[in-house]
Symmetry: C2
Subunit: 658 residues, 2 copies
């Protein structure tokens, strides 16, 4: 951004690799600055002066040096030694050109517990810092021995009342303790020296372990970060929005996409905060003028026009949002899914679609792609794949495809170059984190987003179908390193809401699932990932993708499909014996389930029943699913996914040589 709004920064500890790897990745992703995590510098061959030059070359400022631990001490000799240690770090900072250092509250048994004495020790440190042109940002660790809340850290900083001493606020330390962030708005903005942002899932574990291993980028976890950011901005904070995320997966993943994911999280957070701000704007008397001005500015960043440098509470801080980055245009369902398959597998997929009641309604003008339709379900089968069958592309119905694509790019989704003939529709596609193209469409329309005109009608006879009404959802198995990234991508780029998160024990290891949908439930995406990577021994079948078709009568649909020769997946009798023991279903219903291979799942906290019938695997790791949602069921049937996965494994053992 590096524009009028707040700046974005990234702590080097967020990324994997050496310091050199990290700086390059942060710069490439567009960050304005970095926090230098001390262990990264200590292990680097670059001198602090070299790092300063490297950062300058990359256009990165060094916004924070961190962390300095266990400053205060009840032992005067220890405290004196700690001050000498700090002086050495001020030397390093001078070479780096960094003017703010993070000092954590002590976790040591000799931590000072008298607040006046603590304030005095911090002021002594701040004196030394001021002589070197350095500022101390004091942070309460959630597990600090004495100081472990932001209120307490603010009390100590206020007592010390030293111009070179201020606060560092970290959303994890504050929200993990359940502290209310609202009173932050009452802290003078000029005493907020630094802001570190991190999200996290709700976990019932030791807070230190939770912090060190499970932090996430904003929007990937369970914390309400807009509600945290608003009082910070309202207080007049004018420093960077900086990410400090300790995460085991990110720590071992390619830093380049992780840095993009990180920056996307801040862009999305800025937008969400602005929207929350806007929603309450009517209630804020002073806001409109500034907000409106910012909204009209031609800025092309996801600008967070905070009250930069404003005096305390002169006006409530406003997070402005520029017009291009307005909310995602409304969605109206899945436009189509494309299945890419090598020719033989494409034949298998076509035969299965036909048996499921689909009609081949069109052939692409220039490519080996067929269009199949039933109800509002549309499937393109692209015979240009070269390895089995896979989901080749997703497409959503958007109220404004060009705006949606621009917004996606603003959220750092790469625009995909498309090869198209002169008469073909100009469809904008961006790449999801796993590389899958995502199209923004307006089915049936001409102009941007119109795609149907690329197909020559086949004039095949219309059929009644088997009762499929549309695409219920797509099931994507994500690469291990990109699961949280994918969830944030669909959340931010499509404006979806995470609705389900879960974990289940599948035959080849634990699988984590997360699903996202729009408010009207017209677009649903279900993501899964193996919690650990697959062992060498686990078959590829452990990670299938699928397309789920909606029906209002899964029994009738499955029966019709089977009669037409659909390769329905056989489910073991044991499952039905257990189902009968658990639920005491009417015998004829249970018999019909058993006959057709229907899974009957009741795993959603809000109730309802999920009925699903799958096909065998087509081309190795793709299957089709018929689903019926009964009584408002809003989940994805994960409780029965292990049964389906075992059946697919058997299916594959029978049909192929593994």
């Amino acid at each position: 951004m590096r524009r009028d709004g707040l700046r974005t920064a990234l702590a080097t500890v967020c990324l994997s690799g050496t310091l050199e790897d990290k700086l390059t990745a942060a710069a490439d992703a567009g960050f304005d600055g970095v926090e230098i995590f001390e262990p990264d510098l200590v292990a680097a061959p670059l001198s602090p002066g070299d790092v300063r030059v490297r950062c300058a070359d990359l256009g990165l400022s060094i916004d924070l040096y961190q962390p300095f631990r266990d400053l205060d001490s009840t032992d005067p000799d220890r405290f004196a030694a700690n001050l000498r240690r700090a002086e050495r770090k001020f030397d390093v900072m001078a070479e780096l050109g960094a003017d703010t250092v993070l000092v954590c509250s002590s976790v040591s048994p000799d931590a000072v517990t008298d607040d006046d004495r603590l304030a005095e020790q911090l002021a002594t440190l701040a004196d030394g810092a001021a002589r070197r042109g350095v500022r101390i940002a004091y942070e309460a660790l959630a597990w600090g021995a004495h100081v472990n809340t932001y209120e307490h850290s603010w009390d100590v900083v206020a007592r010390a009342d030293h111009p070179a001493l201020g606060l560092c606020l970290d959303s994890f330390h504050i929200l993990s303790r359940g502290s209310d962030p609202a009173p932050i708005a009452d802290i003078p903005g000029e005493k907020l020296f630094f802001l570190q942002l991190a999200d996290a899932p709700h976990l019932s574990m030791d807070v230190l372990q939770w912090s060190r291993h499970h932090r996430l980028f904003p929007g990937q976890g369970a914390f309400d970060l807009p509600a945290f950011l608003r009082p910070v901005l309202a207080a007049g904070y004018a420093g960077p929005l900086s990410l400090e995320v300790f995460n085991d997966v990110f720590r071992q993943a390619d830093p380049v996409p992780t840095a993009v994911d990180a920056r996307r999280s801040l862009l999305a957070l800025a937008e969400a905060t602005a929207r929350a701000e806007a929603a309450t704007a009517g209630a804020v008397a002073e806001a409109p003028a500034d907000g409106a001005a910012a909204a009209e500015a031609p800025a092309d960043g996801a600008a967070v026009a905070g009250a930069v440098g404003a005096g305390r509470r002169a006006a409530p801080a406003t997070v402005a949002i520029d017009p291009v980055n307005a909310p995602a245009p409304p969605l109206a369902g899945h436009a189509f899914v494309e299945i890419t398959a090598e020719p033989h597998a494409a034949g298998q997929v076509g035969a299965a679609l036909s048996a499921l009641g689909f009609v081949r309604t069109g052939r692409h003008r220039t490519k080996p792609v067929e269009r199949w339709e039933q109800g509002r379900a549309r499937v393109l089968v692209n015979a240009r794949g070269n390895d089995g069958a896979a989901l080749g592309a997703l497409a959503v119905e958007s109220a404004d495809p060009p705006a949606a694509a621009r917004r996606a790019q603003r959220l750092l989704a790469p625009l995909l170059p498309r090869e198209r003939g002169p008469a073909e529709a100009d469809l904008a596609a961006v790449a999801a984190p796993d590389g899958t193209p995502l199209f923004f469409c307006r089915t049936g329309a001409g102009g941007p987003g119109g795609w149907s005109t690329d197909f020559v009608p086949t004039r095949e006879a219309p059929r009644a179908g088997i009762g499929i009404t549309g695409i219920d959802h797509v099931g994507l198995s994500e690469p291990f390193d990109h699961f949280d990234e994918a969830a944030l991508f669909y959340r931010s780029v499509l404006g979806l809401t995470p609705v389900s998160a879960g974990e289940f024990a599948a035959p080849f290891g634990l699988v984590r699932g997360r699903a996202l949908t729009d408010e009207a439930r017209t677009v649903r995406v279900a993501l899964t990932v193996a919690r650990l990577r697959r062992g060498d021994w686990a078959p590829a079948v452990a990670d299938p993708q699928y397309v789920a078709f909606a029906t209002d009568d899964v029994l009738a649909a499955a029966r019709a499909a089977r009669d037409a020769g659909a390769p329905l997946l056989a489910i073991p009798d044991n499952y039905y014996d257990d189902l009968g023991a658990r639920l005491e279903l009417p015998p004829e219903r249970l018999a019909a389930y058993r006959d057709l291979g229907v899974l009957h799942t009741v795993d959603h906290p809000d109730g309802g029943v999920y009925l699903q019938v799958g096909t065998e695997l087509l081309g190795g790791r793709l299957f089709l699913l018929l689903v019926q949602r009964v009584d408002g069921y809003d989940g994805y049937g994960w409780a029965d996914a292990p049964v389906r996965m075992a059946a697919h494994r058997r299916n594959r053992l029978v049909r192929t040589t593994l």
Copy 2:
């Protein structure tokens, strides 16, 4: 075992795969029986009758069907429905031929909290079970809504006083709560229907999550399982020793080695329990006769001769140990390590050894293997490798090599076939879990374990060396799926004790470490593993192996090595600036460290200092290390391992094209 001692069993939930995969793996590892975990059966295409036949074919008994959840209810209709559900499960058990079912204490909000009423409901269930020839083993889950201690479960079972109702004891549920297992000895043995064993690391987290994801096989975690098992056997428990281990890694790893690891854990536990028993035997008046008899029996299993079928407390149960499975013969250091390298890398290794003051003292009679020596450090360089350089074999000095090898085989270590010439020594080697050969030797001796005679002396001139006195330890980077297995292997087969466990944030992700040693610290093995698997982007250099040589003066040794041209690893200046700030070392000492690349580590809770100087990587992923332990330092310098890893990464970037 299926001999006179207690039998061994494995819950299918311990392993990855389908039910068919699991049964085969359990049988291959030599288990006598299995617990059938219900979700495994539900997802299986085999009918319960088929499973019965399959198990019989494999020589497995079905010792338990599990689990039946949430039986009791304050709602009479619900309780009636639960009884009907149980009847369906009794049907399944009849087909399976299983006579014991595990019933967990309820976690439901409608759990009965009146103990008399609860006992009554359990007795009602037991009535139904008795009619079907089934026994109910009631278990207190550590997170049960009302019943969550074994004492409470026993109280309820005693109140019910029903012959078909007894207890299931699970070491995890009992030890995770910190309960004292000793009073178990007072429970009548005939009421202990089943015993489930699991170990676990100490973790500060929700007990349900701890249980579901982090259990380990006995000997891999932190629980004192011999102290748990002894009162159970003393009570007269005569059922199988059965493992129920929910572990995320095992759940996705090849079930065949995991099952071997599992059975090894029971053999080692039986031995450890017997040893604990023997240690206190003098204090037990009735024991000697039985114990001595068992010790002379020619049993070839790691026999646990419990008081099988004995009436309650007729005599204290004795865990007998047969002579072959006596404690590991004492160790007296590393005999040698073998480095296997392709010819060019072997040259690099030889040059480095020479610069480190080693003398090439011998050449193998028939193989391209050279022997290098200095002090008691012996290194074989085998030029028959085909990919860089790696640790090819470990060898320990054993007081009785043949006994040690027999013992290793009894602990399921595969004996390695060896190709050897007619005049060559007959050295017994077994394979560690990662395939590395492990030799039992008697250096300098003839006969079994004598290996020196295989080498023709070179008659190269003796040299003073650089002060290396021996091998301090070997550093092994383990495959992700086999880390806990490797730790248990070295612990049980070599009789080592785990002394250090830790985790550190390395440049390419978190690394977990565990070290094992004998009491006298003559043999040390340090194991590391990447906590998550490496991303595609992390370099091979992230997982190096090494040999650490001991010296009493690392500065002198490093200086001499450098003067001789050893490729010492350069450590960044930043490290020394930080070290100076942290420790205020004398300037000349710091300067010497900086000059030579010495890492100075003070991370062990018992104190002391670890000084280490590494070489660059030799042949890609192996390096040599000089270490000096000051003031009794007993760790492995993990706090500075990330600095070394970053330096190796740089070293490799400079020297090769990645």
